[in-house]
Symmetry: C2
Subunit: 151 residues, 2 copies
DNA sequence: CATCATGTTACTTGTCTTGTTACGATCCCT
DNA sequence: AGGGATCGTAACAAGACAAGTAACATGATG
């Protein structure tokens, strides 16, 4: 399986949305992500439910950012898209009553829990405006042409 | 996608192999893992190539443990099975030239690299005899019947 | 030589993200 | 009121990958 890119995509979108300020349609966002408007609506639904963005139907509708990037952490976005499985590996469930399998799964699970806690802690410690600032910093060191997929 | 359970399964097998000492056929191991002998051979191939187990064909053949459990870490086994992807999430690759996407992927990648480093460090710090000891400890607190899938 | 067991390839299955099509609902504009 | 823009949602196909399965070759033992 290829990696689930929804978290990365949503972060990408949210930062671009702040740059525009006016609403963006699913079609525009889809072009930005090199994908399909339905995929955009599907994934952004969670962000809407959590109150990070708002969607409006009809003429002139589209998606708008509701909260400032400084109020949104990577962890918030991860949760909003449904907290997909972080790990591609996991415990076996072949002989649940076997004490050896249990001991293996405990050892493996402990290590994974620690790694997951660290990852979530890191995601929770970074707000989107931090990433936007990184972007601005890199932009300053470059020619201003074709810096962004949405510009 | 369900989680990749090959690491857990191989740990399970190696510990059981030490308890038997005589060689185990792929069929026996398959029953132990509630799976199929071909899957066993496929997954154990990496362990053989790395010299942790040996396989012998023909009458009386099967798999035998070559090195003591105290010489094998969880990380060794992880590497032997081909270092499968640890994470189910990952960076997007939709607009590689977009500096925003790049900045997002850097932030995400940094957090994931840290979590991966921690996880691998933990796996490298645990040897299989430690898990076997955990198993023995738990066994001592239980009635001796049906403690193990291979007994 | 017959049997047992591994080695290997090819094909199928299950699951999950992603992509796509279709259709309904809502809102703006003329 | 009508028409087009836009989201919401359901249904389904595609692609990837672990896992399961079948078939057959290879090698070792007795």
């Amino acid at each position: 399986m290829r990696n689930d890119s929804r978290l990365s995509r949503m972060l990408h979108v949210l930062i671009h949305m702040e740059k525009h300020q006016h609403s963006a349609t699913s079609d525009m966002i889809a072009k930005m992500l090199n994908t399909n408007p339905v995929v955009v609506r599907r994934t952004m639904a969670g962000l809407r439910e959590q109150g990070y963005v708002r969607s409006e139907k009809g003429h002139g509708g589209g998606w708008t950012l509701v909260r400032p990037l400084s109020d949104i952490t990577l962890l918030d976005v991860y949760r909003a898209i449904g907290e997909p499985n972080l790990f591609a590996i996991g415990p076996a469930d072949d002989q649940p009553q076997c004490l050896v399998e249990q001991a293996v799964n405990v050892a493996l699970g402990d290590a994974m829990k620690e790694a997951q806690a660290l990852l979530l802690r890191r995601l929770g410690g970074v707000t989107l405006d931090k990433i936007a600032a990184d972007f601005e910093a890199k932009l300053a060191t470059r020619p201003a042409t074709s810096y962004s997929c949405a510009s």
